[in-house]
């Protein structure tokens, strides 16, 4: 009975945001890589998938605008989630994504644990690497958006900033994209799929819930917090249906395979490209 008991971790909207980000990010990576690796054979072949060099940039621009809209929508959603009456608890409490002193402590304990020098940190609702994942995307998206819009309308942009900032914009757009792609396709994929505790796939972001077992194992502090607040009964949810599970497993593995394909080829052909 305990095994089937599930705790709600992500709302439907949270999962929709993540799904939206998976789709747009993969499209942006593929179309962006097709341009970045254009001087190579693989890059040229990747271009043909999207109908050529000019069409792939057109897709890249449209999806980019979609991502900007998603980012704005998410920021509005974020503002509605802040409890303005209890601002400090809302921002620095255990349910907040803002990094605090506990994260530094957890990281230190984690490093000690790697070498068998201590016990595992008692993680709360958000682990420090989960917070890092979130804020990495949150600062990366505006950077890519601003530089991307500048490069989309270079003549217009140069009315407000000197034209040479476009040189910087190309560099920043490329470097930030390479950083995001390598982080997601190496670190995030590893944490979500290959880590023994989440192998073959961490379902929390698709199912929206985690098992009681996993909660006690992975997030003991959150479990205690829920117990203390008496919310353990409220956040109980039924397990996902089998057909839904099949769908998200197929989707998740398709996204994983696609990402790994782009990563491996990107590494192989990385010697033909530069950051600027």
């Amino acid at each position: 009975m305990m095994q089937t008991m599930r705790i709600k971790r992500f709302s439907v909207l949270d999962r929709v945001f993540h799904f939206f980000l998976i789709l747009t990010f993969l499209i942006q990576t593929a179309t962006g890589f097709s341009r970045l690796f254009f001087p190579t054979t693989w890059g040229k072949n990747l271009n043909t998938v999207f109908g050529g060099y000019n069409t792939s940039i057109m897709i890249h621009k449209w999806v980019g605008v979609l991502m900007i809209l998603g980012f704005i929508f998410h920021t509005i959603y974020l503002l509605t989630k802040i409890d303005w009456k209890n601002l400090s608890t809302s921002l620095f409490g255990p349910n907040s994504l803002i990094p605090n002193i506990h994260d530094a402590k957890h990281l230190y304990q984690r490093i000690l644990w790697f070498f068998g020098l201590g016990s595992r940190p008692k993680l709360g609702r958000w682990a420090y690497w989960e917070k890092f994942d979130y804020w990495a995307v949150y600062w990366g998206m505006p950077l890519l958006a601003i530089t991307g819009v500048m490069l989309m309308y270079p003549v217009f942009a140069s009315q407000y900033v000197p034209g040479w900032t476009l040189n910087i914009a190309v560099l920043l757009h490329r470097a930030e994209a390479i950083l995001a792609v390598s982080y997601i396709f190496i670190v995030h994929f590893y944490v979500g799929h290959l880590r023994p505790s989440s192998f073959p796939m961490n379902e929390a972001m698709f199912a929206g819930s985690i098992t009681m077992e996993e909660l006690k194992e992975e997030k003991p502090d959150w479990h205690e917090q829920l117990k203390k607040e008496g919310k353990l009964e409220i956040v109980k949810v039924p397990p996902p249906s089998f057909s839904y599970k099949v769908i998200y497993f197929i989707f998740g593995y398709a996204a994983l395979g696609f990402g790994v394909y782009l990563l491996v080829n990107g590494i192989i052909y990385s010697r033909y490209i530069t950051l600027h």
């Binding site: 984690r110 690497w129 270079p154 040479w164 560099l171 950083l179 590893y190 944490v191 600027h276």
Partner: protein
Amino acid sequence: MQNSIYIRKTIAWITPLTLLISLLLPALSFGQGEEVTSYINRYKQYEVSTGYYERYEMRPKFESPLVKKFRGLDQKPFAYSSTSAIVRNRSHLSDSHRGIKFYDNRRCEECHINETHDIHTVRANLTCRQCHGPEPIASINHYYSPMNPIRRHAYVCSKCHEGASASFASYIIHEPDAGSSTTRTSFPALYYSYWFMLILLAGTLAFFIPHTILMGVREFFRKKEDK
């Protein structure tokens, strides 16, 4: 009567004597003007008459990111000198390739190989002549060159980028190598953003890849122990 004769006599003696003495004095300074003027004045006259400006660009000086002044050089009382010239003479000629041997039989990339690696050449497949024009190719800063920053946007950039402004034309087509130490002095904004992003990229991966791998390895062994 007696008095006036005395004065006249004095003047008659003193005037030639003064003139005679003045021949022994050094020449007056206003007389030197026609012979030689100061070095700085001569240089400015040379600049105006030839259109060759050694120390500064025409426009848009304030918009260009490239550093043309170096600390120390500008603070000297006489900045003009052949040794402190920071631009090559060829950047101001009406024919920049004047006097190069066998020029007619050579290709641009034989000498300008680094200028063929930029986005315009590699991606847009532009040839040199599409921007730099037919022979003779005037130096980029020659006053009548289409590439001169005062008209580059209108004569060159706007052929493809309609509505290009002088600011737009300050985009550096032939970018320097972003990470090199020479770029630090010539295009610092590019240099520092390159190194910032590279350290951020390498640092993030250098921390998180070992971190997650160690986490996986540790969990793997812990699971075994539990069983």
